[in-house]
């Protein structure tokens, strides 16, 4: 891959590459080119990686392109604009890779980074447990030192793509004698070994992207401990900040695209509805366009902050809240405008099914990656200095 010098030329290059390759790729898949189809998503992600579109911001010595954040942002934006779906190894590319490059040993980098770049190793994230959701630090999975190895026992839940993952990074308790945050360690666990059991969880959309993962006497070599025992919480918190500046870009592009489609739909259905209804639709649409405008300004602000090296603050929480709640309002309006028959009787064919799927998905968006309630606690405590709850 040859990287053009100026940002404009880079954007042009990325756009034309994606237009050429994605259109041809999607055509090959025909009816199966569907964002709900995980095989399709994996195959596109493989294609991107095979052409070198991975590790954009990673150092060259580990196979990355060392692009600055502005160029990474351009890629993520253009990728979403061309209509291509997100991959299924977003956790490997977005979280684990940067975490290893930052906290991993030299041998861990040499061993795992090339596998992610080639998309040969798909990663999942083993954090939440049945008893530890919002209060993550209370988690009870245990890893015990046995000779030169660790023995892992525990039960993780809401683990995205675990049934397709080759590896999982796991937060487990290694010390019960210290305060909860300090007794956790960060392990890399091979999912293809005895003692690992994955059970998909069927979601309200009907799909099963989340899983439960059971670890029963799973052996972990010492070389798969990242950092030192007890570093787990610190590493996990830092890991969550590596996508700062770019995480929301594809989601914001999608928001804009859905907004444009909704506008066209409202115009198309204008003649068939009451004047009062149409006025209300216009107003709700314009309010959502305002949300979209603010989200874009917030994304620019976050990118500037990340590029200037400012430490991550609670602004990720404010963007997540605005995006997830506005996205629910957007899809609620889209369903209403589409007409009540969609939910009652006919399903609306393929387009209707996609809309319903996106609509149902928005119910997860205010829950996953920190519920709205937890995000508001973060804003209140870190931005306003209000005391923690008892």
């Amino acid at each position: 891959m040859k990287i053009p010098e100026s940002p404009e030329a880079f954007r042009e290059y990325v756009r034309s590459w994606l237009q050429n390759h994605y259109a041809a790729f999607a055509q090959q898949w025909g009816d199966q080119a569907d964002p709900r189809n995980l095989d399709f998503r994996r195959a596109w992600e493989d294609t991107l990686c095979a052409h070198g579109w991975a590790g954009l911001g990673w150092p060259r010595e580990y196979g990355g392109h060392a692009l600055d954040l502005a160029r990474q942002a351009i890629f993520h934006e253009e990728h979403a604009l061309c209509g291509a779906p997100l991959g299924i190894n977003i956790i490997g590319h977005g979280i684990l890779g940067p975490t290893l490059l930052h906290f991993g040993s030299e041998s861990q980098k040499r061993r795992f980074i090339p596998e992610i770049l080639a998309n040969r190793a798909v990663w999942c994230q083993g954090y939440s447990e049945p008893g530890s959701g919002s209060d993550l630090a209370s988690l009870r999975s245990r890893a015990e030192r046995v000779g030169e190895e660790w023995l892992l026992n525990g039960h993780k839940v809401w683990t995205s793509f675990a049934d397709r993952a080759d590896w999982c990074f796991v937060l487990a308790r290694t010390d019960n004698s210290v305060p909860v945050h300090k007794g956790l360690s960060f392990f890399l666990v091979d999912m293809r070994q005895p003692g690992v059991r994955v059970e998909p969880i069927r979601q309200l959309t009907g799909d099963a992207e989340f899983c439960e993962v059971f670890f029963e006497d799973v052996r972990i070599e010492d070389a798969c401990l990242v950092g030192k025992p007890g570093d787990g919480w610190r590493i996990a918190m830092a890991a969550a900040s590596f996508e700062r500046g770019t995480y929301f870009l594809p989601r914001l592009v999608r928001f804009r695209q859905e907004l444009a489609a909704l506008r066209a739909e409202i115009a198309e259905r204008a003649a068939g509805v009451a004047v009062a209804t149409l006025g209300a639709w216009h107003r709700r649409w314009a309010r959502l366009a305002t949300d979209s405008h603010v989200l874009r300004l917030k994304a620019e602000q976050a990118l500037d902050a990340a590029m200037s090296g400012a430490p991550p603050g609670p602004e990720g929480s404010t963007t997540k809240l605005l995006w997830s709640e506005a996205h629910q309002r957007l899809l609620e309006l889209a369903i209403e405008v589409r007409g009540d028959d969609l939910l009652q009787v006919d399903g609306g064919g393929r387009q209707g099914a996609l809309l319903q799927h996106a609509w149902l998905w928005t119910r997860a968006e205010t829950i996953l990656a920190g519920t709205s309630e937890i995000q508001r606690n973060i804003v209140a405590e870190r931005m306003l200095g209000l005391p923690k709850g008892g």
Binding site: V294, T318, L322, N377
Partner: protein, 332 residues
Amino acid sequence: MSADTDIELGLLTDSAQRFLAERRDMFIQGAGAQHGRSAALWRECVELGWLLTCVPAERDGAGMGTAAAAALLEVVGASLLPLPVADGVAAATLHAALHTDAFGETDVQQWLQGEQLTGIVQGTVVRHAFTDTALRLQWREAALHVEKVNVSHAGFGVDPLVPVGRPGSVRAAAQTPCEESLWQAYAARRRALLLAEALGAALGALELAVEYARERSQFGRAIGSYQAIKHPLANHRMALDDARLALHDACAAIDVAPADTGTEARLLMAELLVQEAVHATVEGAIQTHGALGFTWECPLHFHFKRVKQIGACLRQKHDQAVILERLWHLAA
């Protein structure tokens, strides 16, 4: 924004904050308004150079953008200063762009130089009616028309710190050629700065509410530790931050292309967000204070009333439904 302008802006807002903090008790206790003290305060504000914030350096101004003036107005709003600073900044910027002093007997000059404190006519209302005359600025047929009018029915609206009245008969008039885009810039800038003042007044209320939620204890804990209290406060903080972001974006657009429909849309979105945020914030701040928030002694009601008064001033023929419908059409 470059590092230099950041520093300049910091100096401007810090000095304004100090200046206003020292005088705040005076103008809050002066509810009922003594004209002499207000006129002296106006002169001091003008001498600090506030009105020249957006006037180009070659016209002896500070040469800063409208966003800088918005930051200043936020400080003014938070202090509850009851003077027409937003009107003054917008008018001084227009005045400098016109390259003329041809305002005859209308007192525009005296007002902008701090020699006289005059109210400004907005539709059917004179805000800051400290004296028996006011200024009316209008644009028609490629000219700026300035009138000095009598003020009738002087008194107070909901805000006990800002005297108001009705515009009456014309005492003096002047006109000067003025491009439409200059007038549009004036009108947009004035609107943006009034929004910034309301934002500041609401921010002041939020600070009081947060402080109270930290200190007031019930059931053995600070009430700010309860989610029923802390989540609304978090919402208000985020709404104010988003509104400011949109407002400063609109200010930048006003500086570059005041007559553009894109600028109009950006200002409308900012107006929508500011209006939503400031009303929710001052209402919530009173609720957070419980019965204390309902007393005259607690200064919250001044913030509440300032927000409600500016809100009403801007809403004339420009309510939420009108803004949203306009945004729908502008997006076509």
